[in-house]
């Protein structure tokens, strides 16, 4: 039997929605209303536990107020969202994603996922996205579905999945919602549907599957240049969205003989380089390190896997400003050749080896969780945060069947906030528009200003939106 606890002080009634439906919003738990306290034998038999994948382990150690480890995917429809219908769609579609219907639990040596028998609830959106999700609390889902005007947003805890897994979920949710609204289609393309049985491979830790133990370990890069700005208060996450015509950007990239990502990465690096060279000499000396970007690569492109959990790694294109000022053409050339060499299955396997090796180390495995958590942040900083000056992630072109596409205005991707990099960037395109979201935890907009002015100089029209 399932019991529910109701605390009237904890709830507010949202008047946000114009659809006429009021919704109860849990202001503390974020996404879960039902907390089962007494389980029947049948419910108990449904509970399954999963080991975390290699990337998830690191995220589970470090997530907190400053490093919420959340990324956000949104779909803006042409009509206002009916929250009751969206809730119904969520209740149905979550059945198709049992590996997301979980709660993070602490084990003796690692955190693990355990089936969450509650129901995720649609909640109102907030001014600042990607605020901390109390994932370590019992009953909390590692994602939250939010609604605002015409927009459905899902914020994912990065330990749960990566951008590809997140997008699959969002597309399935939007498709289910539109189906409930009466939109019909015969061709569902790659969209997951209610009633399908999940493939066993969707649960897998693909890092371990493609781990090659005999590969030599990879050398860690040294510390990178960081933006020298003061952090905003915890919880504040400014978003600047640049909306461009995807054809214009593609045409410019083609003209320069590079891909769209390489073109945008080069502009990003050039903007960071300008910031570095504009610093006073004394300050410049203190932060004189290579400028490097963290660029995630979807490993499903290289290794066949249907996993819906994390399966991405990073490459790090960059320049060294200590060697003098790089012209845009030089940066473009550096990025182009770097990507050709590094985005290769051998080097990626070496990268997988480096990450998985630590997890499989007997000493590491025998260390109790509380000790691992103490060292987790240091490892995260050493192996990740300190090595990059910013991050750039491109989800690529989002496609949905035409019947649904006619009801959708945009798909957007908002990156995870980073107190170390201060500014991060995520790109996604839908139909003929390219949506570039810069998230930042500092007041200064210098980087974004330089970036979009440079794009404008390249002849690309940009429309700016912000929170």
């Amino acid at each position: 039997m399932t019991s529910f606890i109701f605390n009237p002080n904890k709830w507010i009634i949202s008047k946000e929605f114009k659809s006429g439906s009021l919704v109860l919003i849990d202001t503390t738990a974020n996404n879960s209303i039902e907390h089962p306290i007494a389980l029947t034998q049948e419910e108990r038999s449904k509970i399954r536990s999963y080991r975390m994948d290699n990337a998830a382990i690191l995220f589970s150690f470090v997530c907190g107020e400053r490093i919420p480890c959340l990324f956000r995917l949104t779909a803006t429809l042409l009509e206002p969202i009916n929250v009751n219908l969206l809730q119904k769609a969520l209740n149905r579609i979550i059945e198709r994603f049992p590996y997301y219907r979980v709660n993070q639990r602490p084990g003796l040596f690692w955190f693990y996922w355990e089936t969450n028998l509650g129901n995720p609830k649609v909640i109102a959106d907030s001014k600042y996205p990607n605020q901390e999700l109390p994932v370590r609390k019992k009953g909390i889902f590692p994602f939250r579905v939010r609604a605002f005007q015409n927009r459905i947003a899902v914020e994912f805890y990065h330990a749960l999945t990566d951008g590809t897994g997140g997008l699959t979920f969002l597309k399935a949710l939007v498709a289910e919602y539109l189906t409930l609204k009466g939109i019909q289609t015969d061709d569902w393309e790659d969209i997951f549907r209610f009633g399908q049985t999940p493939h066993e491979e969707e649960y897998e830790d693909a890092y371990k599957r493609y781990y090659i133990p005999m590969y030599p370990k990879m050398k860690l890069a040294n510390v990178a240049f960081k933006l020298p700005y003061k952090l905003e208060k915890t919880g504040i996450f400014h978003i600047i969205t640049g909306i461009m015509d995807v054809k214009e950007v593609l045409a410019k990239s083609k003209e320069l003989n590079v891909t769209l990502s390489e073109f945008l990465i080069s502009i990003y690096l050039e903007s960071l380089q300008e910031i570095f060279h504009e610093l006073p000499e004394k300050q410049q000396k203190k932060v004189a390190h290579p400028i490097r970007l963290q660029v995630p690569v979807n490993l499903r492109r290289f290794y066949p896997s249907q996993t819906m959990r994390n399966f991405s790694l990073f490459v790090t294109p960059g320049i060294d400003p200590r060697l003098g000022y790089f012209s845009f053409e030089e940066i473009l050339k550096t990025v182009y050749h770097y990507m050709r060499v590094e985005v290769n299955d051998r080097y990626i396997s070496q990268n997988i080896k480096r990450n998985v090796r630590g997890e499989l180390n007997p000493l590491m495995r025998a260390t109790p969780l509380f000790i691992k958590r103490i060292g987790g942040k240091a490892v995260y900083s050493r192996m990740g945060e300190r090595l990059y000056s910013g991050s750039f992630t491109n989800l690529g072109r989002v496609t949905v069947p035409e019947a649904f596409s006619n009801e959708i205005e945009s798909f957007q991707f908002i990156p995870t906030s980073s107190a170390s990099n201060k500014s991060t960037c995520a790109v996604a395109s839908f139909k003929d528009k390219l949506y570039m979201n810069f998230g930042r935890v500092v007041k200064e907009t210098i980087l974004q200003r330089k970036f979009f002015r440079k794009l404008k100089k390249q002849g690309i029209s940009v429309k700016i939106e912000t929170n």
Binding site: Y128, T445, I464
Partner: protein, 246 residues
């Protein structure tokens, strides 16, 4: 569509300033109807309840409460154990007195956080009281307190106050403070040796304390020399660099 004349980027109708450079956006005079800005995000900044931040005083009171309750547990355990076994308070007097001393040593700094004089006096009185009680509980007689405990407490207090006053009096603080502490440690050991080993015939007989006194005074003297020889010289670093041709 309105745009920023400095950045060249377009913005929505109704947006007052450029989100990139904050330059005011020129309104289109030909546009008769003013449209309200279409919000992209709600105004509520943080949906999570904010944590209540305690003031330093509240933090200290909370700490005192936790310490008091934590000390109460062993106090009750030893008291009742002694009562059950011996049907009276016998050996439990010693741990009980120690626990009360620990409580006092924590209480004074927590309650009088910004009054160092009161804290020092309070701690000293607590220590004296503790030693008197321990001496008395031993054989219901005060025998070693006035010979050993009181002179040692007086000495530690005197030396501590001396170091603090000397540290306040010097203009330039640095290695000289470390030297004062070393001198005090040397003197403390010397007098301790005298107090502990004071022979009946009042003959001065120094033994181990000399092994502490000599190194502390040599190192202390070296620190004083370094401090007063070089810290006045602000160009010391530059001179060394010049000498080494760095």
């Amino acid at each position: 569509m309105p745009y920023c004349s400095r950045c060249g980027v377009e913005v929505d109708f109704g947006v007052e300033e450029c989100p990139l450079c904050f330059l005011p956006i020129q309104e289109d005079p030909d546009r008769p109807v003013k449209e309200p800005v279409k919000k992209k995000y709600p105004d509520e900044p943080v949906e999570q309840p904010t944590k209540r931040i305690l003031s330093p005083k509240e933090k200290r009171i909370r700490a005192l409460e936790i310490i008091s309750v934590s000390l109460m547990i062993p106090l009750l355990i030893v008291t009742f154990t002694d009562l059950i076994i011996t049907e009276t308070i016998s050996w439990a007097r010693f741990p009980m007195t120690t626990l009360v001393l620990v409580w006092l040593l924590c209480t004074f700094p927590l309650i009088f956080a910004k009054r160092p004089v009161i804290v020092t006096i309070g701690i000293t009185i607590s220590l004296i009281g503790f030693l008197v009680l321990v001496d008395y509980f031993d054989n219901w007689n005060i025998d070693w307190f006035h010979i050993l405990a009181l002179p040692i407490i007086a000495l530690v207090l005197f030396l501590s106050v001396g170091v603090v006053i000397a540290s306040f009096m010097v203009k330039q603080k640095g290695m000289n403070i470390a030297a004062f502490i070393l001198f005090a440690v040397g003197i403390l050991n010397l007098v301790l040796d005298l107090i502990i080993r004071s022979p009946p015939e009042n003959k001065v007989n120094l033994t181990w304390s000399l092994f502490v006194l000599v190194p502390t005074f040599i190192v202390g003297g070296f620190l004083m020399y370094m401090h007063y020889r070089f810290t006045k010289d602000t160009d010391f670093k530059t001179k060394i660099k010049a000498k080494l041709q760095m």
